[in-house]
Amino acid sequence: MPSQPSVAVARFEEEFARLRRRQRLQLLAFSAIFVIISHAAADVSNFRLDRLIAGLPRIGEYIGKTIPEIRLDTLPGDIAYWYYGFFKWLGLLFDTLLIALMALIFGSLGGFLLCFPASRNLAGNFAIYFVFRRLAEIARTVPEIVYALIFVVAFGIGPFAGFLALTIHTIGAMGKLYAEANENIDERQLEGVRAAGGNWFEVIRFAVLPQVLPNFTTYTLWRLELNIRSAAIVGFVGAGGIGQELYHAISFNYYEDVSAIVLMVVATIMVIDLICEQLRHRLIGKESLQ
C-alpha cells in the first residue's frame, strides 16, 4: 500500500507539469502577438524612441515656463500678476458651466424621449428598436468636438454652437444608458399594467418609470461631470467657454496664463465632482431609507 500516495503524487506532478507547459506556451504566444502589434502600432504612428527621448526635456522646459515666478516677500502682488485676468476667466468658466448644464437639460430630455423606442422590451417592434438604438449609438460615437466644428460653421462662433454640440452627444449617451436601464426592469409590472387595460403610455408611466427613475437620476448626475469636461474643450474650435481662452493662451505661448487657466478648470471640475458625489450619496441614502 505504500506505493499509492506516490502514484498520486506522480500523477499530480505530471498534471502540474502539463498545465505549466500549456501556460508557458500561451504566455509565449500572447507575448509574440503583443510584440508584433506594438511594433506595427509604433511603425504606423511614427513613434520612435529617440524622438521621445529628444522630446522629453522640451516638455519639462515647457512646463517649467508655465510656472509663474512667485516669491514669498511679494506674494500678493505675484498672485495678482499671475491671475490678472481672473474675473474675465471666471466669466468664461461661468459660460462653460452654463453650456454643460443646458446640454444636460436638453440632452437628458432628448435621451428620455429616445430611450423608450430604443429599448428592446418596450419598442414593440424590432425595426423601431433597431433604428432608434443605432441613432443613439451614432449620436454618442461622434465626438462632441466634431459636432462643435460643424455647428460653428452653421450657427457662428460662440457658446450656442457648443451647447448644441454637447446636446446632441448627451442625447445619444443618455438615450443609450436610459435604454439599458429600461431593458433591465422587472417585466411583471409591465404585464400588470397591461392586464389592467393600460395603453403604451400608461405602461411607461406606471410600470417603467417608477422602476428606472432612480437609475436615470444617477446617470444624469454622472453625466454632468463629463459634460463640464467637454464644455471646457469645445472652445478649442470656437464654440464658447473657457476653452477658447485656453487655446489662445497655448497657441500664442502665454505660458503663465496656461497654468493659471488650467488650474482654474481643474479646480472647477473637482468641485463639481464633489458636489455630484454628495448629491448621489444623498439620493442613494434616501432610497435605501424608503
Partner: protein, 299 residues
Amino acid sequence: MKASAIDPGRIAELRRSYPRAFAKTPLQRATLAAILIGVVAFVVFCLYRFDASPERIWNGLDRFGKIAAALFPPTPGDAFWDLVKAMLETIGMAFLGTLIATCIAFPLGFLGARNVVKLPLFRFPIRRSFDFLRGVDALVWALVYVRAVGLGPLAGVLAIATTDIGILSKLFAEAIENVDRKQVDGVQATGANAVQRVRFGIVPQVLPIMISNVLYMFESNTRSATILGIVGAGGIGFHLSDRIRAHRWDEVCFIIIMIIMVVALIDFISHMLRSCLIKAGTDRALLLETYHRQKRGAR
C-alpha cells in the same frame, strides 16, 4: 365584465382616508411647479446669454439644413488610402498611449494604494497628482505637447498616455485597496518579504481587473484619438477638421462613418477579449460577479 364592482361611495371614502395615494399635496405641487419655472427661467437666461436670437437660430437651421443635405452621398474624395493610413495611425496612437500609460500606472497604482503605502503623508500627494493628470483633458495635453515636441502623432501618443496615467493609476490603486487581505496574510505567513507579498498575494488578485480596465481605456482612447488631430497631434482628426473648414461635407460624412465603424470594431474586439478574460480567469471573477449581482438584486 364587472369593471365597476367597487361602488363610487367606497372610492370617495378611500379618497378621503388616503389623500396621498390619490393626489399630490399642495406643497408637493408647488415644489414641482417652482422647479419647472426655475428650469424654464434658467433656459431662457442661458439662451439670452448665448445670444441665441430667433433670427440666429433660424438662419443657423437653414445653413445646417444645407450642410446636412451636402453630407450625402459620402465620398472619400481622392484620398481614400490617406484616410485609411490616418485611421491606422489613430488606432496605433491609442494603442501606444494605453501601453505606455499602463507601464507607468502599474507601479504608481501600488504607491497610491492605502494597503501598500501606509503613510498618508506620502500617499496624499500621489493621489492628488493622479487627479490633476485626469482633470486636464487629453486635447489640452495634446495642444501642449504639439508646442513642446512638434506636430505629429508623437504628441498624440503622449497626450493619451498622460491622461491615462491619471485614470489608470487611480483605478489600479482602487483595485489594490479592494484585495482580499487573507491571501496576503497567507503569503506573509510563509515568510515572504514585501516584494513577494505583492507578487504572490496582491498581483494575482488584481491582474484580471487591471487588464479589463486597460482594455476599456483602449476603447475610450480610440474615441479620443480620433479628435486629437484637430490640434495637430496626428490621426484622422486632422483630415476631419481640414475637410470641415474647407466645407467638403461629403468627405466629412465619409470620415465620420469611418470613425463610427472603427470605434464599433475596437469595442467589439475589446468586448471579446474581456469575456475571454473572464472565462480564462479563475472562478473568482465569476464568483465576484454573482456576488455583485445578488447584492444589486437585494437592493
